[in-house]
Symmetry: C2
Subunit: 247 residues, 2 copies
């Protein structure tokens, strides 16, 4: 039975958008902070894997959002590793309000990166045992984002900034999400909320690179946006979001 | 005698740079979070001034930095309003480590912005009385940043992003600091720490604007950088930082 770690968190001003709702980039920062807290409590913190020449990387997010936490709201953040195999571990996060109502659920796929070989490392018992997740040979099929419409898209470019690089010498996850969403029209962003999202990370972006963030809109029964982040020649990250109109 | 508000804070991963030190943009976010907590405790939170058609803006920072807090370090953050007059209030922040050693001291000048008239509002007793700061007619002369060298500077441009805009419909302070510092060479940033800094804010940057962040290096007994952020025709923010070589 997976160990669950819970922390309560008050949403601060700098975490929020103009409508005083938690932003998706900051949501991800907060969640990863809580999962690191669990790892610390199990003596499996970042330094533990780093000492083995490894670092955790995220390959996939799925977001299910009832509503985002609001400015000054205190929420409960729950996390647990659900399952693992030789290459991946799966971790879930649940955010609840003061009445225990579920606001946000996030499913993530992690892998270990061998920092020297720049390839994926084997997930070993000594690293994951304390989390009490279930071993299962089965490799999950994560939902794939749809590709942007090649006939009707817009693009913005972003240079990687000095402070985008984190303590693992990677561009921090939250900045990819900022690039993904900032490519959308600001009026659209201001009038819509995300209800569901999938993001996949394929290839790291490095310092001194400039990325191109492409997006197209897709209207089915619901409204979707499809995203691709690339540099000259390479795809780095793709995403699809489902939106509802608000305000 | 000014009321002091103190909070302890653990420095999270997403707040840190590649060397696992708290970044200056995140420092400012955390400090303002703590000052808002004091205001809440005195029933003078953001909503209180907003209801009067006002919002606090920051005009000037002075940073005195012994060392920045590190990843996972728990620090004490102390804040108090020192003095006020009809136009400005002065607030100080002190960050201390576990042994009560002072790491960072920040002096700030705040003013009230009348949201409708887009000009400065009068600071009245009912707003500031609970902080127990001293009234003094004297308007302080804040240290001015030096101007970048017109013969030898570099520039980078930054478009305002959707998430740069905060709950007051302003570009959040921390993003100006990101633009200021990101204009520097990344190798320089990686090998130097800020020991002292002054930042002045002259004019708001708005959504859909692109700013130009100019910087030049100045070597006296110590090493300085001088900064100017402008849009076509207007100056918005200037700064000077004193650096020491590290690593």
């Amino acid at each position: 039975m997976s160990l669950t770690y819970t922390e309560s968190k008050e949403i601060a001003y700098y975490m929020c958008d103009r409508h005083q709702n938690l932003t998706l980039p900051m949501l991800v920062n907060i969640l990863l902070d809580v999962s690191e807290k669990q790892s610390e409590s199990l003596n499996r913190d970042e330094a533990f894997v780093k000492a083995r020449g490894l670092s955790w990387i995220i390959l996939h997010y799925e977001f299910m959002i009832e509503r985002m936490p609001k400015l000054k709201e205190t929420v409960q953040i729950e996390t647990y590793a659900t399952e693992y195999n030789k290459l991946f571990t799966y971790r879930e996060f649940v955010i609840r309000d003061a009445n225990h109502k579920e606001l946000v659920r996030v499913k993530t796929t992690f892998a270990l990166l061998d920092s020297e070989k720049r390839k994926m490392g084997r997930i070993t018992e000594d690293i994951v045992e304390p989390y009490k997740a279930t071993f299962s040979k089965r490799i999950r099929r994560n939902q794939k984002p749809a590709e942007p419409d090649l006939n009707e898209y817009t693009e913005k470019t972003y240079a990687v900034r000095y402070f985008d690089i984190d303590g693992n010498n990677h561009v921090n996850n939250s900045h990819y999400i900022n690039w993904l969403l900032d490519s959308l029209d600001s009026e659209f962003l201001s009038q819509h909320d995300i209800r569901h999202g999938v993001i996949t990370f394929d290839k790291e972006v490095n310092e001194h690179q400039t990325v191109i963030s492409r997006v197209s809109y897709r209207k089915e029964e619901e409204l979707y946006t499809d995203h691709l982040i690339r540099t000259n020649g390479a795809s780095h990250c793709s995403a699809s979001f489902k939106w509802i109109k608000v305000g």
